[in-house]
Symmetry: C2
């Protein structure tokens, strides 16, 4: 399984992905699910994937090869973020076409966020069919993969005008909840924060299990929750009868 | 959808169920999913259901009718909680047998908790196939239905020796998280707390949307979480690059 979250906020874009893949619980491996494309000063595209690893790797590899070979309509030549999402969707359909007669689910889904010079930043959720929706101010984040455990904290705390720094904390807490409840999501986490209109392609950061900051906020969060729970008033007596 | 949680703790048993059923989001209704059986002073059985409503209603109705008619092997005549779980599983298989040639999923699952005089309280998770597992001190709770949103708080805060009062708060917070993130789970909630070895069958309580206690802890919890999140240290600067 996988868990990826991406946010399109007033100040910028935030991406966090786990890196665990599994074919059964006895076959677990680490694969990066956060991929960065773009040309410094002109464009940035961040792609996250969930689902069949062969399919998502094929899509990412084709996108990269076609940039290298300057093939017609490659990712660095698109005019808008919408066209970039179209290209990812079309590449996904192209890969899946080969396996359409097999009775197996090879599908995957993507989150694509980024910005092209002179345009606003965008974030798309690209479905296994290759069609997609865009994040808005009302719904500033998307998740793919094992999304349910980590959704409540995002629903409570994340808004379009949340600062990038707080949004990143919020994303990491969302991962903490998911990792605790689901073995198939695991560290290291890949994270990347893009400041709107900067057109600087950030290196991003990989957080391992022993990351001091991640462990600090994990334990503070856990203690904080216990305290809040302990401070809630007890149920009225007639709830017991 | 549905969300039910049941806990088997040192002091007693805690059950909370939502009451929303839906066939599509445009067909929502309220049905009780928490059913109480037993003989005051002798036995108590609490049954929660998730899944196909026709199936779960049929199982509950057959169990009740057979108690009324004193049919052989009815629920109030079983010797152990294990036998009670067997009976629920067998009744489920009996109901599903009628539809086995249809290519539709009519399955459902149950949580069954209770106690029989002279024996320890037990809690079973009964699968759609009719087989089941028992809660233990290591794993003192079960969920059925839309369980993922509300699992993290249980994993963090609930232990076998958690007090009933705290466990109930914890269960209600788990419902709050689920209700916020998933439309298909909704109030009223049915809750019931059984004190081990009391053999008093509690009436339980139904919490509506305007329940003052539930709303108090919902808002305190939400504010508390925001505060804990706000107090976490900001990410190191090199996380941004």
């Amino acid at each position: 399984m996988t868990y990826c979250v991406a946010m399109r906020l007033k100040e910028g874009l935030v991406f966090v992905s786990d890196s665990r893949t599994n074919a059964g619980v006895d076959h677990i491996a680490v694969f990066r699910k956060l991929h960065v494309f773009g040309v410094e000063g002109e464009s940035i595209f961040v792609l996250q994937s969930a689902g069949n690893l062969a399919t998502s790797q094929a899509v990412v590899t084709l996108l990269r090869q076609r940039i290298q070979h300057q093939s017609e309509g490659h990712l660095h030549s698109v005019k808008t973020m919408y066209d970039a999402a179209e290209l990812v969707g079309a590449t996904l359909r192209e890969v899946l076409e080969k396996y359409k007669d097999q009775n197996t689910d090879f599908s995957c889904s993507f989150l694509l966020g980024g910005q092209i010079l002179g345009q606003e930043p965008k974030l798309y959720n690209i479905y296994p069919q290759g069609n997609f929706i865009a994040a808005t101010q009302d719904t500033p984040y998307f998740q793919i993969g094992e999304s349910k455990y980590g959704k409540p904290i995002l629903d409570r705390a994340l808004h379009y005008d949340t600062s990038l720094e707080k949004a990143l904390r919020c994303a990491l807490i969302s991962f903490d909840s998911t990792i605790r409840s689901n073995l198939s999501v695991g560290t290291p986490l890949d994270l990347l924060v893009y400041l709107n209109h900067s057109f600087v392609i950030p290196q991003g950061r990989r957080l391992f299990d022993d990351d001091p900051y991640f462990n600090t906020i994990r334990s503070q969060w856990s203690e904080g929750l216990q305290q809040v729970l302990a401070q809630l008033p007890p149920p009225p007596e007639d709830y017991w009868q």
